[in-house]
């Protein structure tokens, strides 16, 4: 049996492939968009997963340091430690810093932790050079994205910090690289004012010496305790907001990256709609170009089904080919994006399904043209 679609495409192969490549680039962008979304979600969860603690105790009525400013007293950690269910418990700070580079500044998120404490936020699997912090002063561990090398000195606030370790793949929920400093240094950077400010504050009668603040207390539970129940208990007795890891994940995806992901989602939907319209237009013009042949086929008695089969097969082939080109294109360029782009197989399959459905939908317009074609137009009445 002759395949009309195959023969027609063979006849205009170059044109068909170029068209598929064009649509493919559009689909490639759709894949990248999906990848940007995935990257955002996975970036957002890096820190949460690296810490891997059961409870986050944060300032009353706040969502915690991932979403907003949260301050609690450092000594809360001792109170919490005395609770039966708590295994390990540490204070932690989050702060945005501008890291000085050669000729510009780089926004990073600094994590402050107790160097001698029980919970270390640095994931050893991500440590590619050097060590974690060894001393509780003037040492820093940086993400490789910052460009700093081991033993480099970085000036922050009043002091100079020595790079003792380099990590890879450590980013904050916004995509900024992470750096790690000791809790004491972090408190100094975050809560200590300049001498001038202290002078003017004193002149006004403000004496604020309380630098023993942190952004959250994190804790793990002993085996056999229910996270939700312990969280409720602490919340009730200490007037703090307490989140489990699962709840923090929800905060991250809902409150932190939700707008960005909605934006990307909308872009993706629009791009898919545009791709569908473009495929439909291509099929329409491809059908128009063949109108004479189609009316001849109808005139000599070829059934509609054969002609429709040709149109639908060509549309599907265009869609599938464009999808393949799109994947190739996306894999070629995704590494060049500044933020993390994660191409997932499931997303590709989802797009494949959409492309197939869109192609079938797009072919309707050509099919309608075939059904309505007058068989006598070709011979001029």
């Amino acid at each position: 049996m002759i395949s009309l679609a195959k023969e027609d495409i063979r006849h205009t192969l170059g044109k068909f492939i170029v068209t598929a490549m064009g649509v493919g680039m559009l689909l490639g962008i759709v894949l990248i968009m999906m990848g940007v979304y995935r990257g955002m979600i996975s970036d957002a969860e890096v820190l949460l997963n690296d810490l891997n603690v059961d409870l986050w105790v944060v300032q009353d009525d706040t969502l915690g340091p991932f979403a907003e400013a949260s301050r609690v007293h450092e000594d809360l950690k001792y109170t919490l430690k005395s609770i039966q269910a708590i295994d390990k418990c540490e204070a932690i700070t989050f702060q945005n810093l501008q890291l000085p580079l050669a000729n510009r500044k780089l926004a990073v998120l600094a994590i402050g932790y107790d160097v001698y404490g029980e919970i270390n936020p640095i994931n050893y699997n991500r440590l590619i050079e050097g060590t974690v912090l060894q001393n509780d002063h003037y040492e820093i561990v940086v993400s490789d994205k910052t460009g700093y090398k081991l033993s480099d000195k970085i000036k922050l606030g009043r002091n100079s910090y020595k790079v003792v370790g380099i990590t890879h793949g450590t980013v904050a929920s916004g995509g900024d690289p992470l750096v790690y400093i000791s809790l004491k240094d972090a408190q100094e950077l975050q809560f200590t004012y300049t001498n001038k400010r202290i002078q003017t504050d004193r002149a006004r009668g403000i004496i604020n010496k309380d630098t023993h603040l942190v952004n959250a207390i994190i804790a793990t539970l002993k085996a056999g305790y229910n996270v939700d129940i312990v969280a409720q208990e602490i919340q009730k007795w200490h007037h703090k907001n307490v989140y489990t890891k699962v709840q923090q994940k929800v905060v991250l995806t809902r409150n932190v990256v939700e707008k960005a992901s909605k934006q990307i989602g909308l872009f993706t939907v629009i791009l898919i709609a545009v791709a569908t319209i473009i495929i439909a237009l291509i099929i329409y013009t491809m059908t128009l170009e063949k109108m004479k042949e189609i009316s001849i086929m109808k005139l000599i008695g070829l059934p509609n089904s054969m002609i429709i089969k040709m149109i639908v097969e060509e549309t599907l082939l265009l869609g599938v080919l464009a999808f393949i080109f799109g994947n190739i294109f996306a894999h070629l360029i995704y590494g060049k994006f500044p933020k993390n782009v994660v191409l997932e197989l499931n997303d590709a399959w989802l797009l494949f399904g959409i492309v197939v459905i869109a192609s079938i939908f797009a072919s309707f317009i050509g099919v309608k043209k075939v059904i309505n074609a007058d068989p006598t137009v070709a011979i001029g009445g």
């Binding site: 063979r10 086929m297 059934p303």
Partner: protein, 231 residues
Amino acid sequence: MSNIAIKVENLYKSFGKGDTLVEVIKDASFTIDKGELVALVAPSGAGKTTLLMMIGCVDTPNSGQMWIGDEKVYDNKWLTKETRKLRREKIGFIFQAHYLIPFLNIIDNLTLLPQSNGTNDKVSKAKARELLKYLDIADKEKAMPSQLSGGQNQRVAIARALANNPQIILADEPTAALDIHRSVDVLKMLKKIALEQNVAIIMVTHDDRMLPYCDRVMEIENMGVVFKDSK
């Protein structure tokens, strides 16, 4: 089985209505036998193509009766829902231009219609090769239409019209684009086909020199059909 290929009675055809009504065929009645080559001659706009398209079950008459072979196909309305199936199985078409499918090679152009009728690949190819040989273009089966001359393509078009073993071949000015020698060749070929394949052929022509090769000459006069001597 009778020897009648086409029978038409009281056929009426007009286009439009009211002020724009154009009557083309008012009352046509005739029969054409199998094996006959009939010329259809009339001035431009007289309704030759219209008549051919009605016999070919492409255009719908307003009223009348029509038979193809022994089968009554039209009685003030089509008696089958699928006129296209009638065309596919019983009728071959030839036009002034070859109208081959440009993206199919010669043999695929010939086997397309028979295959859509359910004839298998092998049988339809064998028949196509036989026809190409019959029309003296056997060496071109793998060529594309664009690689053939006008005369060669017209022969392929004739072969295509024969490929589905039709009972009737309808040819609308098949020689208009050819020079006199090629035209005569085509006429001789059509005559041979009519006799050997036992099909009825109606051929529209404006060229009086073609008439001696035809068995009868049919004219459209006063919106009806009359037969004249071909000699």
